[in-house]
């Protein structure tokens, strides 16, 4: 384990910012395109991609959990609001969902990544784990 950094939060801000910007551009410049709503699977997707990318670009991090989780929740809540993607979702609901999704997904993915096979033969493992978590979130929404 290396020293504490917040690589995950930086990647999250870049990725969520990019998705929100894309949604904003589609909303304004191509209003006939049906843009996905803010939903639990979308929040999970916005969390697992930076987690997978973190696995590829950085050495294993020692997380400072409190800071990581607070800033992750803040990112997932504030950036969609700034992009005007709130729709009919209340800010409180988005905050609670973002907190729950980010905390659960990060804890699950981090615990999975510690048990992931390493080496050249397991290059796809971080991406596959991310995909599995996303599919699980879709399934979860389906049964709700």
């Amino acid at each position: 384990m290396k020293k504490q950094t917040y690589l995950l939060n930086i990647l999250l801000a870049i990725f969520v910012g990019g998705i929100c910007l894309t949604m904003l551009l589609f909303d304004v410049l191509a209003p006939y395109v049906v843009v996905p709503h803010l939903s639990i699977p979308l929040l999970v997707l916005m969390t697992v991609v930076p987690l997978a990318v973190e696995n590829y670009v950085g050495a294993p991090q020692k997380r400072e959990w409190a800071g990581t989780l607070i800033m992750g929740t803040l990112t997932l809540t504030v950036l969609p609001i700034c992009a005007g993607q709130l729709g009919d979702v209340s800010i409180l609901r988005l905050f609670v969902c973002s907190a729950a999704v980010f905390c659960l997904t990060t804890v699950l993915y981090t615990s999975m990544s510690k048990r992931m096979a390493g080496g050249a033969k397991a290059k796809a493992a971080p991406a596959v784990n991310a995909l599995l978590l996303y599919l699980a979130a879709q399934f979860f929404q389906g049964i709700m």
Partner: protein, 189 residues
């Protein structure tokens, strides 16, 4: 060089500032973009609306909004054009309400169906938006569309298919005058 070193030292001493700076930067970009694009948003929306409506009811332009005073709670707006109407409906889907626009001629024939908004499951209900084979079944129906009879449901998305069917029948009902509360009909099919 000195400034660069100072910034590097600053972030090294305070690791929390790096992600915070990234978040603030993203907020600034999004707020600026929203402010810049706000002026063209209404114009683009109007253009897209006219484009879609003139495709749903060919030769129907110009369209003017008509106040809807009927009983059907599924109908949210009505635009009357030459020879027919474009009816906006909002019907309960599997995950969330689905917004369906239907073009109907004055004689009750459906001329076009498009799904404007939905949050159905990817790979299942969401396919209704792009599944031409599914959507084309509603063309020339006259309020008699029914899943399992003259409409084949999308595999794994029966609820979504029935919801769209219900929306199409509600729109036809408005135009032909058979406008009753279709919301009372369970899943429309």
């Amino acid at each position: 060089m000195k400034v660069g070193k100072k910034i590097k030292r600053f972030f090294k001493k305070r690791p929390l500032w790096k992600p915070l700076s990234a978040i603030v930067l993203a907020i600034l970009v999004l707020v600026t973009m929203q402010a810049v694009l706000q002026s063209v948003k209404a114009e683009m929306e109007q253009e897209a609306r006219e484009y879609l409506m003139s495709n749903l009811l060919l030769g129907g332009a110009p369209f003017r909004e008509e106040e809807y005073t009927g009983e059907d709670e599924l109908i949210t707006a009505v635009y009357r054009g030459t020879g027919g109407c474009v009816v906006e409906t909002l019907v309960d889907g599997y995950a969330a309400p689905i917004a369906v626009w239907v073009g109907v001629r004055n004689d009750g024939h459906v001329t076009g169906v498009t799904i404007r908004d939905m949050a159905e499951t990817y790979g299942l209900g969401r396919n209704a938006m792009f599944d031409v084979d599914f959507l084309v079944q509603f063309l020339r129906t006259e309020g008699d569309a029914a899943v399992g009879e003259n409409v084949d449901a999308i595999s794994g998305a029966t609820v979504t298919s029935k919801a769209v069917t219900k929306a199409v029948n509600a729109a036809v009902g408005f135009v032909t005058g058979a406008d009753v509360s279709s919301g009372a009909t369970e899943w429309g099919g």
